[in-house]
């Protein structure tokens, strides 16, 4: 029977990553923490260059050469009875959810029926044995995996639709063949079955199956984006990260694609991370929202709370800078200044030079990211409550 409680599929803790450049380190991801539940959609929103894509690349470990991973944990949860997942976790830091309790430790050993765990319980390290079937969720820290171990996680565990991916379809190959090839590198599947799978995926994303044998130039922008979504779905992932999935598209096409993505998500009970600079898009698709500013997550919580009663001054500023076609027409408030250079970000709270609520401490000390209201987190010395 399906459990009624919600489970996390991803817990990101204190993620930090900088890019090395000749001018200095670009502090693109600074102490970012959030979590994602099964079947839930998270919207990551913020202005250009604030680090949204970098967060996704860091947690998937798809970083360019000049990136420096500086710490943090990314727990990826699957059912504890999943053989491959449990094996992968041996010797790694794990989290286990058991009867609603979270246990942290290192997985020592796995056998057919049991997981043996070195866990810290009541402040003391002790070895505990847990029945495999009792363990609803087993979370592995992806930052501890080797590249080899990480490979199957991408696509099958967490698959990503890259920003502007629709422009990166190879023009000389048929679209269907490109998806089949991508699929085959991640799972052994014979061509006829792969073709059938792609046909089903095309149907799911609203593309005619005849289009499989066409080339990218015969597709419109919206069709290409659908194909890219089909590709992300190919290996049946638990989580899809969609980076600006509709940014280049016209509003009618955007609307259709977002609605289809939501339907697919519901149907497959998948978890999603939408990345967008457009708060209106995020308002429509996300259950939870994370707001980024200058490399940091400044606020995180249930979508309605974030939109209706933001805690962080930047969230509030972002919301009131956005025009809408609904509601009363009001003069929008412009923020003074510009987002900072991430090589030399402002001290303390990175928003302080532009913040109307800043006080003396804001310049000196980095505010902690804490729960100010139930499930609503923010990093601010003077939260708007």
């Amino acid at each position: 029977m399906a459990p009624l409680t919600t489970y996390p599929v991803l817990q990101v803790e204190n993620l930090t990553m900088h890019y090395t450049t000749r001018k200095g380190a670009v502090k693109a991801v600074e102490d970012v923490s959030f979590s994602l539940d099964k079947g839930e959609a998270l919207g990551l929103v913020g202005e250009s260059g604030c680090g949204k894509t970098s967060v996704a690349l860091t947690l998937l470990r798809l970083l360019p050469e000049n990136a420096q991973f500086l710490g943090g944990h990314v727990y990826f949860f699957r059912d504890g009875s999943d053989e491959a997942h449990a094996r992968r976790a041996v010797g790694k830091p794990v989290k286990i959810l058991l009867d609603g309790q979270e246990h942290q430790g290192r997985l020592v050993e796995v056998d057919r029926s049991q997981l043996v765990l070195d866990a810290r319980l009541n402040g003391r390290t002790q070895q505990i044995k847990l029945g495999r079937d009792d363990i609803a969720r087993l979370g592995v820290d992806l930052t501890a995996l080797s590249d080899e171990e990480m490979r199957p996680i991408r696509w099958k565990g967490i698959s990503m639709i890259f920003q502007a991916a629709m422009n990166s379809l190879n023009p000389v190959y048929k679209v269907g063949d490109q998806i089949i090839e991508a699929m085959q590198t991640h799972m052994p599947i014979p061509i006829p079955e792969a073709r059938e799978r792609v046909a089903q995926l095309f149907q799911l994303v609203g593309l005619d199956r005849q289009l499989m044998d066409r080339y990218p130039h015969e597709y419109s922008g919206g069709m290409k984006q659908r194909a890219v979504i089909a590709m992300a779905l190919a290996c049946d992932p638990d989580i899809i990260i969609a980076d600006e999935p509709t940014t280049a598209l016209d509003v009618i096409v955007q609307d259709k694609i977002l609605r289809e993505m939501r339907q697919i998500q519901k149907k497959l009970n998948m978890s999603m991370i939408y990345i967008s600079h457009d708060i209106a898009v995020i308002a429509e698709v996300a259950d939870k929202v994370g707001v980024m500013y200058a490399g940091g997550l400044v606020e995180f919580g249930p979508s309605e709370a974030i939109f209706k009663s933001p805690i962080h001054p930047y969230t509030k500023a972002l919301m009131s800078a956005f025009p809408s076609i609904k509601g009363e027409k009001v003069k929008l408030a412009a923020l003074p200044g510009e987002p900072p250079d991430l090589i030399k970000p402002p001290s303390g709270c990175r928003f302080h030079p532009r913040c109307p609520y800043a006080t003396e401490i804001c310049e000196r000390e980095v505010p902690k990211f804490i729960e100010h209201k139930p499930k609503q987190y923010a990093a601010c010395w003077n939260p708007l409550m």
Partner: protein, 344 residues
């Protein structure tokens, strides 16, 4: 936010039956027999001090219309009239409508001074090898206005006006040393320096970030308020159009299908295309549930369109009459709300 202080509305720009056809190359030796109807029999007027919006999806002809209005390109047919002072020494009594296609010499120069265009991409539209001073003062030197000292004064004045303060710290910088929002402000300063009466702003904020975009939009609203400038404001973003424009025209495949006061068109759209377009706009409020209107297919290119309603193939309410008739004319449905549809 219509300009209420204006007692009488005075037409500044009048566009009549404007068409721009681009030949489609069909082969190396073949003469073009097919045409893209980028702008197809479009008529509208812009009042003095008014912000007139042109909205619609990619490829519907917005930029082409904008370029025609400042005479960056010449139309296939049709006319654009601008109220212009023929002899700069006389006051506004001496103004009259002139067909901009007929302008030459001094009159053309006067028109170029009066009608400016701001482009979408602040990264491409400024010459990277020129300083901010050179960029903003260039129109003055082209028109031979002022001494070097006066030009410096005027540039500093405009940089302050667009919020680049203190001006001295910007004068001798290059575009790459500015942020996107600052560059767009430079482009606005340059467009403003000759006191134009009319500006075509082609998606001036679509490349800018939200927190900067609002500042640029408010700046353009303020400049209108202060100097009574008229804008043709091109955008694909309906929420931005609502914020900026007094009236809007909705384009579809080279045709204006609906035109009227912004609030009226957005809250009470009549044309089936406008209805679908507006119903698809996301609302930045998670508690709002939209009921989108489905339309068939997607936008195509208007290459040799058949002589019937451009929206026919996708229209959910098309009838036999639509199949048999020409593209419908724009008709006034009251209060200056125009629609081109047989079934409304």
């Amino acid at each position: 936010m219509a300009l209420q202080t204006q007692t009488k509305t005075e037409t500044l720009v009048r566009v009549e039956n404007l068409r721009m056809l681009y030949p489609v190359a069909t082969g190396v030796f073949a003469r073009a027999r097919s045409f893209i109807h980028a702008v197809d029999d479009v008529s509208f007027e812009i009042n003095r001090g008014e912000i007139f919006g042109l909205i619609g999806e990619s490829g519907c002809g917005k930029t082409t219309t904008g370029k025609l209005l400042v005479r960056l390109i010449d139309p296939t047919s049709g006319h654009i009239y601008l109220r212009i002072t023929q002899d700069p020494s006389t006051d506004s009594q001496g103004e009259q409508f002139v067909d901009i296609a007929t302008l030459e010499g001094r009159a053309l120069k006067e028109f170029r001074r009066n009608a400016q265009m701001i482009f979408q991409d602040p990264y491409e539209s400024l010459n990277p090898r020129m300083t901010i001073f050179d960029i903003v003062s260039e129109p003055l030197s082209i028109h031979g206005i002022g001494s070097v000292y006066e030009r410096e004064e005027r540039v500093a004045e405009l940089l302050s006006l667009v919020g680049l303060t203190p001006p001295e710290s910007f004068l001798f910088r290059y575009p790459h040393e500015l942020s996107g929002g600052q560059r767009q402000r430079v482009a606005i300063a340059r467009a403003m320096i000759l006191n134009p009466s009319f500006i075509v702003a082609d998606e001036p904020t679509s490349m800018l970030d939200v927190s900067i975009r609002t500042g640029v939009m408010n700046l353009m609203l303020d400049l209108r308020e202060e100097f009574g400038i008229s804008y043709l404001y091109i955008t694909h973003d309906l929420a931005v159009a609502r914020y900026m424009c007094d009236r809007i025209a909705v384009m579809y495949l080279g045709k204006i299908v609906e035109l009227g006061p912004t609030e009226e068109v957005i809250q009470n759209p009549l044309h089936p295309y406008t209805r679908a377009l507006i119903s698809a706009v996301p609302i930045p409020d998670p508690t709002v549930e939209r009921q989108p209107i489905e339309i068939k297919g997607g936008v195509s290119k208007p290459i040799d369109p058949p002589p019937r309603c451009r929206f026919y193939e996708r229209c959910p309410i098309a009838t036999e009459r639509c199949a048999q008739s020409d593209h419908p004319p724009l008709e006034d449905k009251g209060h200056g709300h125009f629609v081109a549809c047989y079934e409304i």
